[in-house]
Symmetry: C2
Subunit: 301 residues, 2 copies
């Protein structure tokens, strides 16, 4: 059966979700999107299967996203039927993707905390999970230097000590490169912990809030929050600047600082290669990320 | 009895409050602060009276603040008793104001939505309400051009049309100056509606969100939200650029656009004159704002 692959760009406030991945009885981002898509595609009668989403970054409970990317395959018939309904309704503003975007937001994002920013037909070879070149996260920390903005407390860690920006920044930058990040990963059987950390740096925004930028080809589980926890330990003077590199080289989780709270973390952007490299990149990633478990590919975001 | 006047700089997320002003049975910013101060000052036994707060901007339900300012008078005895308790507890980081700041935030801001940013002994002649030269508000609007950030939906109006920034900005700037703003005020008997609008302008921030800056010597009730509603009507093409000035000159509320939602509005800053002008400025303002009702001075924020 011919299928059409749709790319969904979504943003969400993580506070109201038990993370990305569907779980019975819990409100999750994937669960809300699957429900919305099933409603819009009118599945249930003709199809026994719920739409299956594949995502770039399986965010944990409480983690936010501005630039999350997922894909879903719909049949050419479903796609055409949607377009026909749009035409009947007199939807005029361009591609069926635009009306799909509005309807997904209307159904899945009734609470305002989940927004479909864009829905488009994916380029050939596109795979939301395996095509990315990198994922970029931001972590916000208001230390004692920074004024606290209660409006933004849901996505900012409030830290009651002074943090040394330069020390944090230097220590964080020293971790970039291709390394075994086992010391900063929750172990998962069969999954590699080797990652290429492309950026890890800190600056203060206009209000004085510390913003950590973390970009890597992919992240193992809890890696960003473990890295940020370690950087904060340096900023607070509990670790010296070389400590992060020593912890990295030890590949032992025991030496690391505590993982920081999820609410300061936002998946900001997923970087994909140009269209002609999408398929090659996906094949390369699949080959490199190691074995596939019976329940599906191992977590690699 | 000798008193010490304390200046409180506070920030809050308006979503959890029924506005600034104390109301029986409702959670208000003033109510939380008065409760915290009464607890810290150990009133109740010695004093029958709750601490009385005077505020720069009596924000409505749902309106946020980053730079709200209030004052409270405490007796010299209470102030000295607090300082003694701090010394006994070994509080070392400077003035009693610092420990008071932390305790107010700890008691009034348990939910994280109310923060005392600073507590200091006020300069001589300081009056939170009558000394200000101006109040500055910001209003955030994400129109169809701007990506929606679900993390910030609590303090941003989502508007589903495209807004013409230049038209809004030009129309808004045309309203600055000393005018009778009756067309943009909820009428209150005996209160003047003449205000000096110092700034009213629009720009897009780095994310593309429209941010309106509104600064005036003082605002009558609902004035900022009426001005913003009118500017949005221009941006959406429902009013032409000259319409705002015509509405202003009509001094008739009927001609104005709908008042916009409270949640997009934040009191950002209150501007006070240099110390030697504080008392003169307060006297001048009291004289100019017109009659005083039996229930206290008329609303003038």
């Amino acid at each position: 059966m011919e299928t059409v692959r749709l790319r969904l760009d979504v943003a969400y406030d993580g506070a109201g979700f038990s993370g990305w991945s569907r779980q019975p009885g819990l409100r999750t981002v994937e669960g809300e999107l699957v429900h919305a898509l099933a409603t819009i595609l009118r599945r249930g009668d003709q199809h026994s299967a719920a739409p299956r989403l594949t995502v770039a970054g399986r965010t944990d409970a409480g983690v936010h996203a501005l630039g999350q990317v997922a894909h879903v395959d719909v049949s050419a018939e479903e796609w055409e039927a949607m377009a026909r309904r749009d035409r009947r309704r007199g939807v005029v503003d361009g591609a069926p993707g635009a009306s799909l975007r509005r309807r997904i937001t209307g159904i899945a994002g009734r609470a305002g905390d989940l927004v479909a920013r864009d829905v488009t037909v994916a380029s050939p070879g596109f795979d939301a999970r395996f095509s990315p070149l990198w994922r970029r996260y931001e972590y916000r920390v208001a230390d004692r230097h920074a004024p606290r903005d209660p409006r933004r407390r849901g996505h900012t860690l409030w830290f009651d000590e002074r943090l040394d920006l330069d020390a944090m920044d230097a220590a964080s930058r020293s971790l970039t490169g291709l390394h075994d990040f086992a010391a900063f990963c929750k172990p998962r059987p069969g999954a590699t912990t080797i990652r290429r950390l492309l950026d890890f740096s800190w600056s203060r925004d206009a209000e004085g809030v510390l913003v950590g930028q973390v970009r890597a080809d992919a992240f193992c589980h809890s890696m960003v929050r473990a890295l940020v926890g370690a950087a904060i330990a340096v900023g607070a003077g509990r670790f010296d600047e070389d400590a992060l590199h020593r912890v990295l080289e030890s590949t032992q989780r025991s030496g690391a600082a505590p993982v920081v709270g999820a609410h300061g973390l936002t998946l900001v952007e997923v970087g994909y290669p140009p269209e002609h490299e999408l398929a090659t990149r996906a094949e390369l990633t699949r080959a490199r990320r190691g074995p596939v478990r019976s329940g599906g590919p191992v977590r690699s975001d």
